[in-house]
């Protein structure tokens, strides 16, 4: 395993697109080779923006980004393997279309975190912006696999059009989480903001409470569901110490959104 450290030379004055700068993209490259890699579409090289140390030799690359700011967008976008550690706050689109490996953001993340992600693990120590695991305009679905864990709160519309995968929010998920959701799981340990699951077709929202439930969700009563055991076990297997506390035996199940096919559910644990 090799470690490559990239330290931002100066805080960017404008948005800085770092999409494509992934751990796997540096595999097999020497330090000069990494410096000469193009960054984004503006013609800049990595060496123009970052101080580079280390090379991508050996199996598995760990890329550490230091000094990044919320102006740095697209961190880890498209990553297939390896580990990317962000020592700072990430901007928008971090982990977008990520397929594998691990993205650890030690600060906060902006909007569209893990948008369209299909595999791997994204962890954010702090809060994340709106539209985590969502889709971008023109895309049919949002996140289709992998696991996201957010240490703080998540913004609005977390999991918009999400299809598969798991989003764990250690804090509270903002309003309209799971909007238009087609599948997958959003587990918010401190509950949901107003109106979770609008036009949700399938999928599962889990939390202790919701600020206000939509009238198009039907109360199905309290149940002891085996699937909760599997969700808990999956979170532990995937996230280890970052996994949320095990789910209780009994949950109150609300089916919806009955304005669509109503095969989704909100499971309230409190």
């Amino acid at each position: 395993m090799s470690v490559v450290r990239l330290r931002l030379l100066s805080a960017p004055a404008a948005r800085l697109d770092l999409s494509g700068l992934t751990a796997d993209a540096l595999a097999g490259l020497s330090e000069p080779g990494i410096s000469n890699l193009s960054l984004g579409s503006g013609g800049a090289k990595i060496g123009d923006v970052f101080a580079v140390s280390g090379s991508g030799s050996g199996d598995g690359v760990t890329l550490v980004l230091e000094g990044v700011t919320p102006a740095c967008d697209g961190i880890g976008a498209g990553q297939r393997s390896g580990t990317l550690i962000v020592d700072g706050d990430a901007g928008a689109y971090a982990g977008r279309h990520m397929r594998g490996g691990r993205l650890d953001i030690r600060g906060s993340a902006g909007s569209w975190l893990a948008a369209g992600m299909s595999g791997g693990v994204v962890s954010v120590a702090g809060p994340a912006g709106d539209y985590t695991g969502a889709h971008l305009s023109g895309e049919k679905f949002g996140m289709s696999g992998g696991t996201v864990v957010i240490g703080g709160d998540a913004g609005e519309r977390t999991g918009d059009r999400m299809r598969r995968g798991t989003i764990v929010v250690k804090g509270r998920a903002g309003a309209a989480a799971g909007s238009r959701m087609a599948g997958g799981t959003i587990w918010a340990e401190n509950g949901f903001g107003a109106g979770p699951g609008p036009l949700m077709r399938r999928g599962t929202l889990i939390g202790p409470r919701a600020e206000r439930l939509l009238s198009t969700f039907s109360d199905c009563g309290r149940h002891d569901l085996v699937i909760l055991r599997l969700i808990t076990a999956h979170a532990v297997a995937t996230l280890g110490t970052l996994a949320p506390a095990p789910l209780p035996g009994l949950v109150r199940r609300y089916a919806g959104d009955m304005a669509t096919i109503g095969k989704g559910e909100i499971l309230l644990t409190a």
Partner: protein, 305 residues
């Protein structure tokens, strides 16, 4: 007696012969429930009438009881194994047995119990009991179906692993002069085999008293009594048995691998040789078809080395 002896161990003769076994398709399932008792009920019901592919469609049995820490949902469980001639013949047996015996069992859930790149679409049948209310949940690389039932939800994994390298028909023939002692010895051998992972002994209590030969004088019967090992026919047929033999019991072994079958046969043989003589066991043999039908041959002399 026509089969020559290889060796006598602890007063028991071991024949110079081999068990002839066949390539099979196999799978494993993990059944869980709210209690060990109900996990076992589901497993026993599902594996019932699963002694021989000839008449039952599949050979089924319980591999072992699982602790809650070993099951996907953390509840008590049982691992069952199923074997068939081919994946195509095994799949309907899996679907039917899960649908009729596990789905119906209170509090049950059904998971894949064999890691393999080949899969059987285990849920393609049972999940449709949900009549459109069933939903799926993909967690990582595994997909589960939740089927609404009257005590909550029946959870079934989408598919189970398949191996086409399984083996069916490993066997031991245990021969003695005292029927009760022979049964005790054979039961102990089955218990010894049960400690070997990835094998089952699919007959009642793991024991067959009606060993068979291929074919019959009657049209349409593919198998019939093994007259050479029937003690009551000793004077009327070419018999394998000496004058003192009163009974013969057989243990048939199916395994997910050939190595597992061999290990089980060895464990069973060691058990018989260790305790059988005092209980009237005089000889151990094995069933074969001259070596022309089955791909796997397990020589008893190899089990003694």
């Amino acid at each position: 007696m026509t089969t020559p002896a290889f060796k006598t161990v602890n007063g028991i003769t071991v024949d110079d012969t081999f068990a002839e076994a066949f390539g099979m398709s196999g799978t494993g399932l993990i059944l869980t429930a709210d209690s060990p008792r109900w996990a076992m009920i589901a497993a026993q019901t599902m594996t019932g009438f699963g002694t021989s592919v000839i008449g039952c469609g599949a050979e089924c049995g319980i591999d072992r009881v699982l602790e809650p820490s070993e099951t996907p949902d953390g509840r008590p469980g049982v691992r069952v194994l199923m074997f068939g001639f081919s994946p195509d013949s095994l799949l309907p047996q899996v679907k039917n047995r899960v649908g009729q015996c596990v789905l119906t069992s209170p509090g049950s859930a059904c998971y894949n119990g064999l890691e393999s790149t080949q899969k059987l679409a285990m849920s393609a049948g049972p999940r449709f009991f949900g009549d459109g209310w069933q939903t799926s949940k993909r967690l990582g690389s595994r997909r589960f179906w939740r089927v609404p039932v009257m005590d909550g939800e029946f959870v079934i994994e989408d598919s189970c692993g398949l191996t086409t390298d399984a083996v069916g028909g490993g066997n031991l023939l245990i021969i003695g002069t005292h029927r009760a002692g022979l049964l005790e010895t054979t039961e102990a051998a089955v218990a010894a085999m049960a400690k070997v992972p990835d094998v089952i002994t699919p007959f009642p209590g793991g024991i067959v008293r009606s060993g068979s030969k291929v074919g019959s004088k009657y049209k349409g019967a593919v198998a019939s009594t093994n007259n050479a090992f029937c003690p009551t026919l000793r004077g009327t047929t070419v018999s394998e048995l000496d004058d003192k033999t009163l009974a013969v019991l057989e243990i048939v072994i199916d395994g997910l691998t050939s190595q597992a079958v061999a290990a089980a046969m060895r464990a069973g043989l060691e058990s018989v040789l260790a305790t059988g003589a005092a209980k009237g066991v005089t000889r151990v043999s094995a069933g074969n078809y001259g070596g022309k039908l089955g791909q796997h041959h397990y020589h008893l002399k190899d089990m003694l080395s």
